[in-house]
Structure formats: C-alpha cells, structure tokens
C-alpha cells in the first residue's frame, strides 16, 4: 500500500477503536433519553467516576483487575440508583430546562468530588492488556486497542440481547414507546427509570476503564463524555442503533479530521471537529440518521 493510503487506514482504525467507546457511552445516553426523556449532561462524569473508582480499587487495595472491574460495576449501579432517586425523581413533570440544569449541577458535583479525592494529575492504569504493537500489512495497532474494540463490541452485543430477549429489556422498550400503556400493562415505570440510569452509569464506567487503559486518565476525561453529543445527534437522539453507528462515525471522523487538518489549524482539531459536525447535522438533518421525526400538534 502506498504511504498515503496507509496513513488513511491507520487513522480509520484508531478512530474506530475510540469510536467504539463513544458508541458504548452514547448507548447509555440514548437509553436514558429514550426511557425518561432526560438529556444527561453528566454522562461524561459517569465515565470519569467509573475510571477513577476502578483505578482506585486496583491501586490502593491491590485487587486484581477482574474483581475491581466488577466492584466498579456495582459502584456504578449504586451511583445510577442514587442519582435517579435523589435528583431526577423529584423533578418528574418539571420543565426541560430544570432537568437539564440539574444534570449539569450533578456533573459539576461529580467532577469536583473526583478532583477532591484523586487530584488533577494524569494517572495511568497498570498494564492490564498488552501494549505490544501488532503489524497488519504495515498498519500498526497496539494490542490494547483491539481489546478495547472487542470489549466495546461485546458489551453492545450483551445489551442488544438484553433488549431483545430479557423481560426487563422488553419492559424498557415498552416504556420508551409509551409510558402510559406500559404502566397499564403492569410495568413499573419508576423501576424502569432506575434501571435506565443504572445501565447508563455502568456502560459509561466501562467506557472510562477502556479509555483509561489506552490513554491514562485525568479530569479531562469528562470532556470525552461530551463527545457523545455529536454521536447521538448524528445517530438520532432516540435510536440505539443510531448511537452505535453515530459513535463509530464520530470516532473515525474526528481522527481523520485531526490527522489531516491539524497542520492547518495549529492542533487540537480533534477536540472541536465533532462539534462542528454536530452543528452541521442540526442544520441539515436535525433528527439524525435514525431518530424519530417529531410531528408537533397544538
């Protein structure tokens, strides 16, 4: 392959890996939106929380990765439950601005809690997945990237099965479809809300841990969570498939734009490109690729 194409493919592959983590976090975001119509601005802070708790358990208690991973999952479930019960449930029926603002407040609180406990300097996970670079016909991929991609896909598959076959999953889809009908069929909508927040916290924590293994973590990991917005807007706010495709696309797109445009704009294009894409999508196709187009009536 010529160097130009090689460079391109390299960028796409790395973008795909990061995109798979975006997709995972976006999945949690869409889940909350679909089930409870809440836009969660604290999604990035869930990512942050998950990564730090996992790291803390590994480093300070010297517990093997698998167990600390499970402990983090339990912690995320509790966090999701607490947030739903203490903050969101009192606000059911309040105007949308209030709900958005409360998740922003939550984001601020979680972020400062992380800073208070763990400081702001960058921290690195102990090597869990091998970093050894693998070479496929000139495309260099570190092994940890493949693990990340594999994990992200695995979790997506688990959730696909969960939604398709499990009772709770079907109940969640029903609630998302029509709360009143679901309730009249005996589904506890409150419980579904709680489950949605739990799952969102869990997938975000997984995303955080995966990214932590690649880059190390510091407080800016929360900004990573903000990238789910371009992903979900591209995919459509209420589409799970859209979240996954949107996440992957945004990952690849930002990597390509970063790779090719950084020299013209003095760096950091990666950080802003997804948001430019977001604005463009809102201008031309506001409900995204797979989102439900709302028809409004008086």
């Amino acid at each position: 392959m010529s160097p130009g194409i090689l460079h391109f493919v390299q960028l796409v592959v790395t973008g795909l890996v990061i995109g798979s983590v975006y997709a995972l976090v976006a999945l949690g975001f869409v889940l909350i939106y679909k089930a409870t119509s809440v836009i969660n601005f604290a999604q990035g802070e869930f990512v942050l929380m998950g990564a730090y708790v996992c790291l803390w358990v590994i480093m300070d208690f010297q517990i093997p990765f698998v167990w600390s991973f499970l402990i983090t999952m339990v912690f995320s479930v509790v966090l999701g439950l607490l947030v739903e019960r203490l903050m969101l449930r009192p606000l059911i029926g309040e105007p949308i601005i209030t709900v958005i603002m409360v998740t922003i407040g939550l984001a601020t609180v979680l972020k400062s809690v992380v800073t208070l406990f763990w400081g702001t300097q960058i921290r690195v996970f102990p090597q869990i997945f091998p970093q050894k670079p693998l070479n496929f016909h000139g495309i260099v991929v570190s092994e940890v990237y493949l693990w990340t991609l594999g994990f992200a896909l695995l979790f997506m598959a688990i959730f696909a099965f969960f939604f398709k076959y499990s009772r709770a999953g079907i109940a969640m889809r029903a609630t998302a479809d029509d709360q009143q009908v679901a309730q009249s069929m005996g589904i506890s909508v409150k419980r579904i809300f709680a489950i949605s927040w739990c799952i969102a916290a869990v997938v975000s924590a997984v995303g955080g841990i995966l990214i932590g293994n690649i880059n190390g973590i510091n407080i800016t990991l929360a900004d990573f969570g903000l990238k789910v917005f371009p992903a979900v807007i591209l995919g459509g706010l209420d589409s799970i498939v859209g979240a996954i495709i949107g996440g992957l696309t945004i990952g690849i797109l930002e990597n390509l734009m970063g790779g090719y445009l950084d020299i013209y704009f003095g760096g950091g294009v990666k950080e802003v490109a997804p948001f430019v894409v977001l604005v463009v999508i809102l201008m031309i196709k506001p409900y995204g690729l797979f989102g439900t187009v709302e028809i409004e009536r008086v």
Partner: protein
C-alpha cells in the same frame, strides 16, 4: 381614602412603580448606588478584607450578561449553554477594535455588542426549528467551537497567552480607577435593566413570552416564530457582548480561560437561582453567584488554619458547592430567589392579617 391600589386609567395601570412608596424606595436605592455606596465601599473593604468596589463592578458586569440570558432562557424559553463564549466574542471584539484598530471606547463597546449579536444569531439559526433539548446541545457546540477559535486564531486573539487591554477613557475622562469604572458599569447596568423591563411591556416582549409558553399556539396567532426567536438570540447576545466588552477593559487582559463552559454554567445558574422570567431574577442571581465564593472563603480560611492543605482545595470546593446549590435550588426552590422575594413582599403587605 382608598385602602389599596385602585387604578382609574390604563396609564396608571401600566406604570412600573405604581405607588409613591415604591418610587421613593427606588429613588433611595439609586441615591445609594450613585452616592452612598462609593462612600461606604472603602471602609467596608477594609473591614471585610476584600475589595467591595471590585465585587460591585463584577456584579454589574455579569448582571448585564445575566439579563441577556434571562431574556433568552427565562422569557423566550430558549436554553443557551454558550453564553460564556458569546461574552468572549464581545470581549475580544472590543479589545481588538480598541487596541489594534484604534477605535474609541464608546464605539468599540457597542460594536462588541453588535458583533456578538451576529455570532449569537448564527448559532441560533439551527436551533430555531428545534426544541429546548437540541438547543442546549447546539449552543454547547457553539461554546466549544468559539473557545477553540479564541485559543487557536493566534494572529487575531493572541492565542492562549491572551490579549492585553488598556483602560479606556470616556469622552476625555480616564476610567482608570475601580470607582470611575463603577459609574460606567452602573449606568449601563441600569440602562440594560430598564430596557429589559420595558421591552417586556411592548408587543415584542409579549410575543417572546407567547413563544415561551405555547409556541405553536403563538405561531397560529400570527407570531412569527423564526423572527422572534432570532430576535431573542440577537438581543441576548448583544447584552452579553457588551458585558464581555466591559469585562475586557476592566480585567485588562482577555484570554480564552475567562470564557469557558464553566462560566456558561454559572450564567445559567445565575438566572435559575435568581428566577427565570423575572427581571429581578438576573439581579438577585448575579449578586448571589458573585458573592458566594467570598462567603465560602470564610469557612475555608477557618478550616485552613486547622488543616494547612485545605486552601488548595478551595477552587474545587467552590465548584462542589456551586453544583450542590444548583441542584438544591432546582429541587426545593425551582422559581428562584425572585419568587421568594415576591412572597415575602406579599406577606408584609398584608401583615399581620395574612388571610
């Protein structure tokens, strides 16, 4: 003699300050702001250990911005997470026109407002067909894009090093002290408040409120949604742009770090804590948010005597308290301080016969 308020014509009914008593209060307040406050500021600063004058100036600057956001969010129902960036646009515009192009201050400040209004309207366009949710996301994107521009358009903005700005002079009077600048801010803050209050009593203002309450019904009744939403964005950005210009010349240096997402959140917190949809809300909210860190400093200083490291956590602690205050206010006092003020006033009006 009538016991209560009886209007015998529409003109009386439309007055902002309806009783002589209120007018006297307002006169007293203005007298205090123009004459009394500058006199007590210096001794008060010495007593409290921080510059009260500086605080008042910051309150004035941010109040103008908060009024702008309140017009957009509180009165038109359009949430914006990009107002810090818009303020930055105003700050840079005024600084660049003043420092590099050599414009006089009395031209560069309104120009800052106009440029910001333009930028705000551009980012307002995609959201005009969308509901509040999408708007929050679109303006957040605006925040990040503009922030990136401020940081990376080095030839214009000086990059992350920032831009040095001089204190301006206003028709020959150099605004070189905090006190002199205070009068400029005070006049502009009063003007902006009066304009906002009066705007809401006009056809335009009522259309904006209609757009907030039931936009589809409003459109059916002949309110042009596109026009009024864009107008709200424009006026709101103008306000915040002027605030940015004032901030730049007061702070003497502008850089992208002054206008981060965090400030946007603070702006929203100001109008929500103060009271969305009340002119008083912007005022109360700003006073609350600017004074909160100073109030927090007191327990921090006491605690840092016990735990010497404590002071390093001050910034983080402040954010934590801000977050908690926002959440608690939304859950327990969703109508904000202005609504509380109205209930207290109503209570005293009827006291001691509250029923």
């Amino acid at each position: 003699m009538p016991t209560g308020l009886f209007h015998s014509d529409y003109k009386e009914d439309e007055q902002i300050f309806q009783t002589l008593w209120l007018k006297c209060w307002m006169g007293g307040l203005l007298l205090f702001l123009f004459v009394g406050f500058p006199l007590v500021a210096t001794p008060l600063s010495r007593f409290l250990g921080f510059s009260v004058q500086h605080m008042a100036n910051m309150i004035g600057i941010f109040m103008i911005g908060a009024h702008g956001l309140n017009l957009l969010t509180g009165f038109t129902g359009q949430i914006s997470l990009g107002h810090a960036a818009f303020m930055g646009v105003g700050a840079y515009t005024s600084s660049i026109l003043f420092m590099k192009a050599g414009w006089p201050f009395w031209l560069s400040l309104p120009a800052a407002g106009l440029v910001t209004a333009g930028v705000g309207m551009v980012f307002g366009v995609p959201s005009l067909r969308l509901r509040g949710l999408y708007l929050a996301i679109a303006t957040m994107a605006a925040q990040f894009i503009i922030e990136y521009g401020m940081r990376n358009w080095t030839s214009l903005t000086g990059g992350s090093g920032g831009l040095n700005v001089d204190r301006p002079s206003f028709f020959g009077i150099p605004l070189d002290t905090d006190l002199r600048y205070y009068y400029l801010i005070l006049v502009l803050a009063i003007l902006s408040t009066v304009f906002l209050k009066n705007l809401l009593r006009t056809k335009t203002g009522r259309a904006l409120v209609a757009v907030r309450d039931r936009y589809l019904s409003a459109e059916i009744m002949g309110v042009n949604l596109f026009k009024y939403r864009l107008l709200a964005f424009g006026i709101s950005s103008f306000y915040v742009g002027v605030a940015g210009g004032l901030f730049a010349h007061y702070n003497l240096v502008v850089s992208d770090e002054h206008f981060t997402m965090w400030l946007s959140i603070q702006y929203l917190a100001m109008v929500i804590i103060g009271g969305l949809g009340h002119v008083l809300g912007g005022i109360f909210g700003t006073i609350f948010m600017v004074l909160l860190p100073e109030v927090l400093r007191i327990p921090t200083e006491i605690l840092s005597n016990i735990y010497p490291n404590f002071f390093t956590y001050f910034g983080t602690l402040r954010e934590l308290v801000f977050g908690l205050v926002i959440i608690l206010f939304l859950i327990f006092e969703p109508d904000g301080l202005a609504a509380r003020w109205h209930t207290i006033r109503a209570y005293w009006k009827l006291w001691p016969f509250s029923y």
